[in-house]
């Protein structure tokens, strides 16, 4: 039945080559933990991606309850955490996932570094990777403010002070992020927009470039 539906669509739209392009590639022996257990270090990139997917999905569910204004933000998180069925799990996944993505990305960076995989012809992919690193850190920084509790607020105060201390662009960067003189309603609205729209957009674009380059070049060979 399913096969028939697939064939029917495929005859009209020729979809087989589309997904075959993505699915068909080889997994060489030296990156396959089934053959050499130490090759698990090659899994860190995939695990980072897995956690990124968890973050996107759990984040989508969080926005079903979260209200980005200084009066309701805290209340809505509190409600989700304490009243909503399984709300604890949704928030927990996003909270712990944020740490996990950093850990995995750090390990992935070390794997790529110590296998020398950033060398010609993969320089560009390394640069894209470092940009991904910044985007993920930015997501961590902006997301931390959103529950609008004490630790959130004061960590942001310090973070913005640090941003302000940068020469030349410091004042501008602070105003851009805080949305004004005080850290308050405007700041929360901006951090929400950055956390939910700007950075995820950049993240998806960069990930697309990252994966495109990996498929195009193949994984680096054995040492």
């Amino acid at each position: 039945m399913l096969q028939k539906v697939y064939d029917w669509v495929d005859e009209r739209l020729d979809i087989t080559p589309l997904w075959r392009d993505i699915a068909d590639h080889e997994v060489p022996e030296h990156v396959n933990p089934a053959h050499h257990f130490s090759a698990f270090v090659y899994c860190f990139g995939g695990l980072t991606f897995f956690v990124v997917v968890i973050q996107i999905l759990s984040g989508m569910f969080l926005t079903m309850y979260y209200v980005p204004d200084i009066i309701h933000a805290y209340e809505s998180v509190y409600y989700l955490q304490n009243e909503v069925t399984h709300g604890l799990i949704v928030r927990g996944m996003h909270h712990w996932g944020a740490s996990l993505v950093i850990v995995m990305m750090f390990l992935h960076t070390l794997r790529v570094f110590f296998t020398g995989s950033y060398k010609k012809p993969r320089e560009l992919n390394w640069v894209v990777g470092v940009l991904l690193f910044f985007v993920i850190l930015g997501l961590g920084f902006t997301g931390y403010l959103l529950p609008w509790d004490m630790k959130a607020y004061f960590a942001t105060v310090v973070g913005l002070e640090i941003a302000e201390s940068a020469p030349v662009i410091g004042g501008f960067a602070r105003t851009l992020l805080a949305g004004g003189e005080i850290i308050g309603a405007q700041t929360l609205a901006r951090f929400f927009a950055i956390h939910v729209f700007f950075l995820p957009g950049a993240l998806l674009g960069l990930l697309g470039a990252h994966f495109f380059m990996i498929r195009k070049q193949g994984i680096s060979g054995p040492l």
């Binding site: 495929d10 068909d24 950093i102």
Partner: protein
């Protein structure tokens, strides 16, 4: 794929009528024990992923995400702390060579150089050799960077007063102070008390929430007269009766002891 003359299409579309066989490529001719990503390798990845996900879910249930009390921008005594992965940057700003007038060094210069170098790694280490032991400078610098991050994070965790941190963020039960009680009125005339414990009696600049501990009337009077740890003695201004009324009001958790509600 058939191209050019003689090609057949599905109806008037541009999709070729000739079907390609839908079978994976054969990688057996590749060097080593190469296998196909789809479906062989992906299936195994999925199984590992499922185990990983279960472990992750257990973690989220066993350790709920923390939530402190709602942000109070006026509470300037709060010791701030970023999430753990920023601790190393935060710690850097505590050292003399990177703080005060040198903040720019710790906040911008050092992280800027480190992350800038990370970005330019392919050009800083552009030799052909890939094995880490054959390029000791690059490997050494990276190890140094990782070691500094671990060291700074460690120091930061070590220096932080975690007990005080947990306490300062705790969600406190709202105390509904009966503002019509006589005791409340008496408190409102005590400038010295208000100075530390705040006008609402729920804690302020230098003193905690008055209702925080469960003292009885005599204990409260004793503290007001003789002072307590960090609280000066003899600050109350008024008659002994007033003092007694206030102490009773406090011991009764901010409710009028003579009130008839409940």
């Amino acid at each position: 794929m058939h191209r050019g003359k003689g090609m057949k299409f599905v109806g008037d579309s541009r999709v070729p009528a000739e079907r390609k066989p839908n079978i994976p490529k054969d990688y057996s001719e590749y060097p080593g024990k190469t296998e196909a990503f789809w479906p062989n390798f992906l299936l195994r990845e999925w199984m590992v992923g499922a185990v990983f996900l279960i472990g992750f879910l257990v973690l989220t249930v066993a350790h709920p995400a923390p939530l402190e009390r709602i942000a109070d921008p006026t509470d300037s005594g709060y010791i701030p702390l970023p999430d753990w992965y920023f601790l190393f940057l935060y710690q850097l700003l505590k050292y003399e060579f990177a703080a005060g007038q040198y903040t720019v060094v710790g906040a911008v210069l050092m992280p800027g150089v480190a992350f800038g170098a990370l970005l330019l790694v392919p050009w800083l280490d552009s030799g052909k050799e890939r094995r880490p032991l054959k390029r000791p400078i690059a490997s050494g610098l990276m190890m140094l960077g990782v070691a500094s991050i671990i060291f700074l994070t460690w120091e930061s965790v070590d220096e932080h007063d975690w007990e005080a941190a947990a306490q300062q963020g705790e969600i406190v039960d709202d105390v509904e102070v009966d503002e019509t009680a006589e005791g409340y009125e008496i408190y409102q005339s005590q400038e010295s008390c208000i100075g530390c414990h705040g006008g609402d009696m729920l804690g302020g600049a230098a003193g905690p929430n008055i209702f925080e501990s469960d003292y009885d009337k005599d204990a409260v009077m004793d503290i007001i007269i003789n002072g307590a740890d960090g609280m000066p003695a003899d600050q109350f201004e008024g008659s002994d009766e007033e003092l007694e009324t206030l102490a009773e009001f406090i011991a009764n958790d901010g409710q009028d002891p003579n009130g008839d509600d409940e």
